[in-house]
Amino acid sequence: MTEFLSMGGYAGYVWSSYTITFGIMTLLYVHTKRKEGKYLRWLRRHLASLEK
């Protein structure tokens, strides 16, 4: 297992690039979902204000 983790001596480079890539991708996913939630709440308030 440790041999796999060491990545033939390049562990730092390989693991950092993978974490960066998939890290940024998950961040983008989370940001998009949060923004979607924010807009939905804003739309709901907008709708409620229209009905009043």
């Binding site: 001596g9 390049y10 690039s17 996913y29 979902k33 939905l40």
Partner: protein, 249 residues
């Protein structure tokens, strides 16, 4: 065919069409990405020259391809904004641009990380990395123009003109950077041209690329759907969507 395209370019139909599509896309993406990571890190043999640092290719090359693919998608939607004035294309343009910029950034970062073990420097003025950097500025230009204009309609039209100027410039920049690179460093084989890859090294690369494509599609669908709701916020169908949505949560 055009009838089909026109039918789905109306915002309402697209919204409900993408609603059905998304779960399927998510599942395929998750399976594909786990398989490709397994393939990239474990099953692909280490490169005889670069050893395991070669595995960064599975992340760097797909994201570079995505950055180019997304710019092409933006070019396509720019044409449909200017020529056919399709509202959906205007939304796609502003929804997809940041995703492209993110992937260009990933490609640049992983490219420079990969460069460290190979050349010992964090940044190598290699032809492909430099064109990628210029592509990043094309993206930032389009995003800056989109944010500078408040009116959505003229904003999308101006950004699509800039995007089309960018599309014409991408091959020019690419070949002039190649020319400049070979001129100053001599015609060595470009460090990034992946050597003739062994077959089971190639499979994970292709599956990872498809996985990235699915990811881009999912994220842009989410962003487009949100913008559609905001865009048509006064129309009746959005009100129904919001009210049903309120019951679920």
């Amino acid at each position: 065919m055009f009838k089909f395209l026109y039918h789905y370019s109306s915002l309402r139909n697209f919204y409900f069409f993408s609603e059905k599509l998304l779960p399927f896309l998510l599942i395929t993406f998750v399976c594909l990405v786990t398989y490709s990571i397994y393939g990239a890190l474990i099953s692909a043999p280490a490169d005889y020259q670069q050893g395991d640092s070669f595995r960064i290719i599975y992340v760097h090359v797909p994201s570079a391809w995505m950055s180019l693919l997304i710019y092409m998608v933006m070019g396509l939607s720019s044409v449909s904004v200017l020529v056919w004035k399709i509202k959906l294309a205007e939304i796609t343009l502003s929804a997809v641009a940041p995703i492209g910029a993110v992937f260009t950034l990933i490609a640049l970062v992983t490219g420079s990380i990969w460069g460290k073990p190979m050349w010992g420097t964090w940044w190598e003025w290699d032809a492909r990395l430099t064109s990628e950097l210029v592509l990043l500025f094309l993206y930032l230009g389009v995003i800056a123009l989109l944010n500078a204009i408040d009116d959505r309609r003229t904003g999308a039209r101006s950004a699509s003109i800039l995007c089309l100027i960018g599309i014409v410039n991408i091959p020019i920049v690419h070949y002039s950077v190649e020319w400049w690179n070979t001129l100053h460093q001599g015609p060595t084989v470009s460090k990034f041209s992946s050597p003739s890859i062994h077959i089971d090294m190639l499979i994970p690369l292709l599956t990872m690329t498809v996985a990235f494509m699915l990811y881009c599609l999912i994220i842009s669908l989410y962003r487009i759907r949100t913008m559609i709701l905001v865009y048509d916020k006064d129309s009746q169908w959005v009100k129904n969507v919001i009210t049903d949505n309120r019951e679920q949560i």
